[in-house]
């Protein structure tokens, strides 16, 4: 026979004003299994809690029902109270007599009756409750950061500076990401590389950070605190322990006509190459696709020229398995190429370029040392048209969202152009100017007012070439839809930011969700912006949605704190509200028949296969489902789906819920 204690709180007068608390306690006290029942003015107060603790001890209570405010308010409080008195905290249930009764009903018999019913239901439930213990999951004290752009760099440094180990992988030969390609940054116009490269170096030299460039995630298994990641270390064809980074090989390489990724195809590189002068690590890799030796079997000039004999052609890709407790995904974004826009030249006019290409043209590390010269003939363009929202906010192009950074960088581009080409003429076609951010609006105003950039609100219909000029046909909607035609020397498209290549595949590898545009999905758009739905995997930067640098850095630091707070624990303590597959005596072992139809129902991929083997022979007797408590979040969808009722949810078991419903109905 149970020994339940019932404690009805008046909540000052919040409950007792409409509910006859004394009577609720009296009626509860008459129920079978109830050992002690009382009411009190403030149950959550110190004396109230002491009352509960004393009653637990004095009456040897094995279950407690507190009739009070919402469990969302004080469930944790009263469970702790019970635990302090030696009662398992999960043997405490909260009847919501305030938000669900006293505050929503008038004083009267029906209101008190309802309170009694709710308490009755929970008394029955708590009699079926089982003591539960929090789940402890050991934590591997190391984080994996995927992607070495500014998001990854910031995350890694923040985690590392908190004393935790970080492994960073970057798929390209150098870290730095898109930020390293930028010329100046809005709204301060400070040099991107000047602020970034010190951090890149810091990453490389930090004792807590292990950096693997030219490396990709191959597989991710496990769960929060206990991930096992398999990393593919792409063969660089260079032994970095021997390479001094002297660069001789890159000058000797005969294949010099490969479009440079770093320069967005505007410049060329060799097959053995360092992506850019400030690269970290500043050592070359061989691009096998363009290397004559790999393609034709002959050349080896780099090997001959290398003073330290660091070239190793025959080394295959290697795989490395690492154990980490948390993962931060910072894989960034891409921009649409100009050939996405047939109406703007189909990628066939050399002087129609993307914003990112413009960044390179304006960059001090560009061969012109930052002097803006157009790609086709190297002339200084006298008239430049900037087209905002190229793809963005255009459902017809499949991109209904705003790419967010374009308004600002377009203003910056126009401004840079005006600064660098005196007497130059720049026009920006825009839909709206979205300059929400600290000093952003002022920045745009400066471009318009001080640098006299011509802002035209309207869309560009076509760009075509005529007599060596790019004819930009648009419309000025603020001047009564007046057609506008500009003969430009160069056109810069603010092409939409899109998910980075392979984002979908990567998300599937990690079992995290993504939106229709393949940007990774956060767990909650407001309250969990850097978490994913998979515990232990976090997001930062533009892999989640287009973001500017300040936002990316803020998110990166946010993700870092989440990681650090996770890694700083010896064990993860989790609520024991998880699903379990039943086990029973042989020959059945479990009533689970292993249909595994529940697998597709679990949003957390927490359902695993467990083989039950004969102890003597080791032969598999049956395969049943097993819930990984580290992954299960306790939604219970599998429980109500399971046909044979072989899965149950701790804290909300079938028996508990059934009993509560029937008791509510006095059935």
């Amino acid at each position: 026979m149970s020994r339940i204690g019932v404690f009805i709180c008046h909540c000052g007068e919040n409950i007792s004003a409409t509910v006859d608390c004394e009577r609720v306690a009296q009626e509860a006290g008459r129920l079978e299994g109830v050992e002690f029942a009382t009411d009190y003015k403030y149950m959550c107060s110190d004396p109230g809690q002491t009352l509960i603790k004393n009653a637990i001890k004095e009456h040897h209570l094995d279950g407690v029902v507190v009739g009070s405010c919402s469990p969302r308010m004080h469930e944790a409080t009263f469970r702790k109270t019970c635990a302090e008195a030696g009662l398992n905290p999960y043997m405490c249930e909260i009847a919501n007599l305030r938000e669900h009764v006293s505050w929503v009903h008038e004083k009267g018999e029906a209101t008190t009756r309802k309170a009694i019913q709710i308490v009755t239901g929970l008394i029955s439930k708590v009699q079926r409750n089982k003591p539960l213990n929090t789940i402890k999951v050991p934590v591997t004290k190391c984080a994996l950061v995927i992607g070495g752009g500014i998001a990854g760099i910031q995350t890694a440094l923040d985690i590392a500076n908190c004393g935790q180990k970080v492994i960073m992988i970057e798929k390209s030969p150098s870290i730095g990401g898109h930020m390293s390609q930028l010329s100046e940054t809005f709204p301060t116009l400070d040099c991107s590389q000047c602020i970034l490269t010190p951090r890149m170096v810091e990453v490389a030299q930090h004792p807590n950070i292990t950096l693997y460039t030219y490396a990709e995630l191959d597989k991710l298994e496990g769960f929060v605190g206990n991930f096992k990641a398999t990393i593919r270390l792409k063969a660089k064809s260079i032994d970095y322990s021997k390479c001094t980074g002297c660069g001789l090989c890159t000058t000797k390489c005969p294949n010099k006509k490969i479009p440079s990724e770093f320069n967005e195809g505007l410049g060329m590189r060799t097959a053995i190459y360092v992506p850019f002068p400030q690269a970290v690590p500043n050592k070359p890799v061989i691009d096998k696709e363009h290397c004559l030796y790999y393609q034709k079997g002959k050349c080896k000039i780099c090997s001959k020229s290398c003073p330290t004999g660091a070239i190793e052609y025959d080394k295959p890709d290697e795989f490395m398995t690492i154990e980490v407790g948390a993962v931060v995904v910072t894989t960034g974004f891409n921009v649409l190429k100009t050939d996405f826009f047939p109406e703007y030249g189909y990628g066939k006019y050399k002087d129609v370029i993307t914003g990112l290409q413009f960044e390179r043209l304006a960059s001090a590390s560009w061969p012109t040392l930052g002097e803006i010269r157009r790609p086709s003939d190297g002339k200084i363009p006298q008239k430049v048209v900037f087209i905002a929202c190229c793809g963005s906010r255009d459902p017809a192009k499949g991109i209904p969202y705003c790419s967010k950074i374009c308004c600002m960088y377009t203003a910056k581009h126009a401004m840079l152009y005006q600064h660098k080409v005196h007497g130059g003429d720049s026009t920006v076609f825009y839909m709206d100017i979205r300059a929400g951010g600290k000093n952003y609006e002022e920045f745009v105003r400066r471009a318009i007012e001080e640098d006299h950039v011509n802002y035209v609100r309207g869309r560009v219909a076509r760009v075509y070439e005529k007599d060596g000029k790019l004819i930009v046909k648009g419309v000025d909607t603020l001047l009564g839809a007046e057609p506008v035609e500009i003969e430009a020397d160069m056109v810069v498209l603010a092409t939409a930011g899109v998910a980075s290549k392979g984002a979908e595949e990567l998300a599937q590898k990690m079992h995290i969700s993504y939106d229709p545009y393949h940007f990774f999905a956060e767990a909650h758009p407001k309250l969990k912006p850097v978490e994913t739905n998979t515990a232990g995997i976090f997001l930062a930067g533009a892999c989640q949605a287009p973001k500017d640098i300040p936002e990316t850095v803020a998110a990166a630091s946010g993700a870092a704190v989440k990681v650090v707070s996770l890694l700083s624990q010896e064990n993860l303590v989790r609520e024991p509200i998880v699903a379990v597959v039943n086990r029973c005596a042989p020959p059945l072992f479990s009533t689970c028949v292993g249909c595994f139809m529940c697998e597709t129902i679990c949003p957390y991929h927490a359902i695993e296969h467990e083989e039950i083997k004969d102890r003597k022979t080791g032969a598999v007797i049956k395969t049943i489902a097993k819930i990984n408590p580290g992954l299960c979040q306790g939604c219970g969808t599998c429980v109500s789906f399971c046909r044979s009722k072989s899965i149950d949810l701790e804290g909300y078991t079938n028996e508990e819920m059934y009993t509560e419903v029937m008791a509510l109905l006095n059935h």
Binding site: V593, E599, T600, F641, E655, Y658
Partner: protein, 261 residues
């Protein structure tokens, strides 16, 4: 001996299979037959008149063990085997699926692709009696439907022949046998008879192959087959085909309904 019997004799003689599940002539009806000895092979017949769906035996470990067996299969068996495989209940390497065509020729279906194809080509025409009854009930008003089902299901004696005959009711412990909590009263009562059928239909959602074995097994000839039939038809209409016969454990964010406010 016909070709089927010859093939069966060879398979058993050569030890390729330990057992052949097929059909034999029973008392006024075709019934399942377990052929273990070559000399019994002459009893084997091929018929799609058997009311039983012999795929029901494929999940009975006490009969099959870990032996390689053959099943002489009609559309019903094959459709069930495909679904059982999706539910991890079949060891394909231990199962030989044989069909017999109009000319008596025996064909082995070696892959699930072949089985799917067989089902596509041999889908039986819908039973007009079942369709007519569904239509009749659909036309009733709610009170009439309730009265109809109450009176029909009141007759059920809860022998669970419908469950036993269904190849996809292979649970070791059925929900009707769960007693913590006692979801279904284990005794005959109108309510638990209705609840039992609701459970059966919910559990079959998207999985039912429409073989009709449940209805044919009912000793009282209750119209329970139309429940699963109605459910299958409506699910296709409401939710589409479902992935892998798995309707209730998958979802589409765009599922349409008109009753959630």
């Amino acid at each position: 001996m016909n070709k089927l019997q010859e093939r069966a004799t060879d398979l058993l003689k050569g030890g390729t299979v330990k057992l052949i599940i097929g059909f034999e002539q029973g008392n006024n009806k075709i019934r399942p037959f377990f052929c273990e000895k070559p000399e019994d092979a002459e009893k084997l017949i091929y018929s799609d008149d058997c009311s039983t769906n012999n795929a029901v035996y494929l999940t009975k470990k006490e009969l099959i063990g870990d032996n390689k067996i053959a099943i002489i299969a009609t559309y019903k068996e094959i459709a069930s085997i495909i679904q059982l495989n999706k539910e991890n209940q079949i060891k394909k390497e231990n199962l030989m699926v044989l069909t017999v065509d109009k000319d008596g020729d025996v064909t082995e279906l070696t892959s699930f692709e072949e089985m799917e194809k067989f089902c596509e080509e041999n889908t039986p025409a819908p039973d007009p009696v079942v369709a007519a009854l569904i239509e009749k009930i659909d036309k009733m008003n709610r009170e009439e439907r309730w009265a109809y089902w109450k009176s029909e299901l009141d007759k059920c004696i809860r022998c669970y022949a419908c469950r036993a005959a269904c190849p996809l009711c292979y649970c070791n412990r059925c929900i009707s046998e769960v007693n913590c909590p006692q979801w279904l009263d284990p005794w005959k009562s109108t309510l638990s008879n209705i609840e039992w059928q609701i459970n059966r239909v919910m559990h079959m959602s998207g999985r039912c192959t429409g073989c009709g074995a449940c209805a044919k097994a009912c000793p009282l000839d209750l119209p329970i087959g139309i429940l699963t039939k109605k459910m299958s038809t409506d699910i296709k209409e409401m939710l589409g085909e479902g992935e892998g016969g798995n309707v209730l454990s998958t979802f589409n964010p765009n599922d349409k309904e008109n009753f959630i406010h």
